[in-house]
Subunit: 470 residues, 2 copies
């Protein structure tokens, strides 16, 4: 494709995306596609000769749009906001347009240095401790795994340089609460720890980790000859927005030499709000921190920020230095290839740069506050309505909700819960995620899509009541 062909087709696609976003309210939120319906319409092999841009446009409309869930829809209340702001979309377009590949600093000085500065911008805006240094990872899952590998190597005094984890006599132990994201267990298992060495710490009535229980487990394990290695604390857990008490956990981590990783993947966006900083008090005791601007903030997937207190340790665990990657400037600049798993890097900082410059911090704060106010309003409505319950403390923009008519309990209540939420989801008018809490189904309402207004949330509340009281 020549640059002129790109120009023509690019303008068409920009308009198509603008039209898609402008008209998104007319679409259903969650896909009603049948399994493999798209697959069956796609030919089984690539074309030999070129197709035209027109035929591709036709298939985008005919094949792709009917088979997607519209995450950018204002009536999307599922999982968490996965906001792909139009500013970030353009920043990411520039990234692939320039075709940079950050194998090392010299391969793209701007890729490295813009990333460094964007991490600093986010650090300042989010009041992240000044001692920390950051890097962009793809997802919180990867960041958590990297944190646990880093913990493993600190705890074993760099066993990777010797016989590896298998040469360690003492079992290395990891602690996290039952409200932690599933990626914590996954990261621990992938890092080689073994399920027997992952310990689930009980939570209190707010779903927050209980420090005294953590201490008890640590002492038990030490008595058994095991070695406490790491604790993962969550601020704003996926299911219930659990916020583990960082100061107490950090004190235990210090006392027993544990690595403290703080997973604020979702809630981290709220760090730009001074009034929400109390959720993050104690962060200065953490060894690593992850927050995902590709969620609520709008930086478009993937853009997960990983901050560490000791970058030298991270580099020691992650570094490779073959001759073809060595350059004369190695000592003066950052080599982000040594800050994570992949060698190659996209210029992901561009989408953060576009977002932060074209929006500015104040507008971002205003949008997040809008969502928090809408969540508080919905919480009040639900609490003041008979038979409805909010099951979690609403610290941010996620409510865990159940409609509990007095005649229903146990499995009958589960059936009722799934019935009304599925009715809403299948109608296409909104999307909410059902999830288990203490063995029973409930419904998560996560408010915060880019275009979700108060009227949308009020409309959702009507839909919920209609679906639960048919």
């Amino acid at each position: 494709m020549t640059p002129d062909d790109f120009r023509t087709f690019g303008h068409t696609l920009i308009d198509w995306i603008a039209d898609y976003r402008a008209g998104i309210r007319s679409r259903r939120v969650w896909s009603d596609a049948k399994p493999n319906a798209l697959l069956e319409q796609l030919p089984s092999s690539a074309p030999t000769h070129p197709d035209s841009p027109e035929s591709l446009m036709h298939d985008l409309e005919r094949l792709i749009l009917p088979h997607i869930s519209n995450w950018q829809h204002p009536m999307f209340y599922g999982y968490f906001p996965a906001n792909s702001s139009l500013e970030a979309v353009l920043g990411d377009l520039v990234s692939s347009g320039l075709g940079q590949l950050g194998l090392n600093w010299a391969a793209s000085p701007a890729l490295t240095e813009l990333e460094e500065r964007m991490l600093e911008w986010m650090q300042v805006a989010s009041s992240i401790p000044k001692s920390m240094k950051g890097v962009i990872q793809d997802t919180a899952s990867t960041a958590t795994m990297v944190a646990l590998m880093s913990a493993r190597e600190r705890s074993t005094d760099y066993a990777l340089a010797r016989g590896g984890l298998q040469s360690e006599a003492q079992a290395q132990m990891i602690y996290f609460s039952s409200q932690c994201h599933s990626s914590v267990e996954k990261g621990g298992l992938l890092a080689g720890f073994g399920k027997d060495n992952l310990r689930i710490v009980p939570v209190d009535k707010n779903f927050d980790l209980i420090p005294s229980e953590l201490k008890q487990m640590i002492l038990e394990d030490i008595a058994l000859g095991k070695k406490p290695c790491a604790v993962v604390a969550t601020v704003g857990g996926t299911t219930t927005t659990a916020c583990d008490p960082l100061p107490e956990i950090a004190a235990l981590a210090k006392e027993f030499g544990l690595w403290l990783h703080v997973d604020a993947a979702m809630a981290g966006s709220a760090m730009i709000l001074p009034e929400k900083q109390d959720l993050f008090a104690g962060l200065e005791g953490a060894d690593s921190l992850c927050l995902n601007p590709h969620k609520w903030l709008g930086a478009t997937f993937d853009c997960s920020l990983y901050y560490v207190n000791d970058p030298e340790h991270l580099i020691r665990v992650m570094s490779t230095n073959p001759s073809y990657l060595q350059t004369s400037t190695d000592g003066q600049v950052k080599q982000y290839r040594d800050w994570g798993v992949p060698l190659g890097r996209r210029m992901r900082a561009l989408k953060l740069w576009f977002l932060l410059r074209l929006e500015g911090i104040e507008k971002l704060q205003t949008r997040l506050r809008r969502d928090l106010e809408n969540a508080t309003w919905l919480e009040t409505q639900i609490k003041n309505t008979a038979d409805w319950t909010v099951l979690n403390p609403v610290r941010l923009q996620t409510l865990c909700v159940r409609h509990e008519p007095p005649e229903l309990e146990g499995e009958a209540l589960d059936k009722h819960t799934l019935a009304w939420v599925n009715q809403i989801n299948q109608s296409g008018a909104a999307y909410l995620t059902p999830a288990m809490l203490e063995g029973r189904w409930m419904v998560r309402v996560s408010i915060g899509a880019l275009e979700t207004t108060f009227d949308d949330v009020a409309h959702l509340w009507r839909l919920m009541q209609e679906a639960a009281n048919p």
Copy 2:
């Protein structure tokens, strides 16, 4: 940003990228930026209030362009082609425009099913064994690490479900040649194996792994009570395009129960050429395979394809299944979250779809053959010119070159090599990567940028001669 603002600024950026690509020959290839020169020009914190699109455009020109290396330049001969084709740029734009997030199938049926089909298109076009099933990963580094974790769990009969790697009595051993990519060692260390358990197998004069040496090492380790776990074979190694003999290695892997991972990250693009299929003979004995269409083929970073023979095993190692990710269609469709580390997924298949449809296989084959012919031509020139040497068998598009005047050897030769290559690189006229081969510096010439013509390669050869014979 409203959809209309996006439309206006989007058109501007499409034109800007088209102009950048059309005018790229007038730019220097490799950056001459000073360390931290950009960093010092970027403010230390994000703006409070919005900047205008115009000021951002101004800074793209003023700050970003002078501080990048132009990987898409036709005179780029470094590392490997990291082609960001304009077709793929547009496919990726649609991905972020739609803002899909593939947490599970239902979250975006099209994301999952288009990915499945694109993996099949590539499988058919590349004659990858029909028994294999594929998934998109970010990079070959990650794919290799995933392969080694999979090997670890097969070899230990799922130690992750028990005490993990640290509970294994036998040391788990990994084998690979000295010409393997640095990510193999890194992946092994991150997977917890420990450097003592990574064994470097000697190579022959073509830089290919010697199977008899591999067998010897395996037998030695078994005699010592260790457990051979995995072997990584390379087809088209980074430094020299080494091609390890797959049939012999596969036979050993089978005999001793080793996991065989084939790293064809760079060379895998050539699998669409029937005449290059001989390099990949024996692939049906592999457990896993990685190839990177984001390199020579042009799918724009990141798009690394990872194929496995036993997807059930991969899923067993990688799966997580919290309640909020369960849906009613779980058994009928693929859940790619369980095929790799990250939970969230971009709709990366779109860029492959755009590339393969708008180009067609035949045009892609023609472009790759152009590069192979240019490489053969350059090889002939160099071999027919006094004092010049090609150090590797030129099986694809990469030449390892040295200018060896009779009076120079040892460190003096190294100094000469680095002098002429640095002169070219610093001039901005072309970029070549210096690398070590058997303890001495040489120069890699990797041909295959999207717009590199025969005239460009002829021009490069003149530049090389001028620089080496001043």
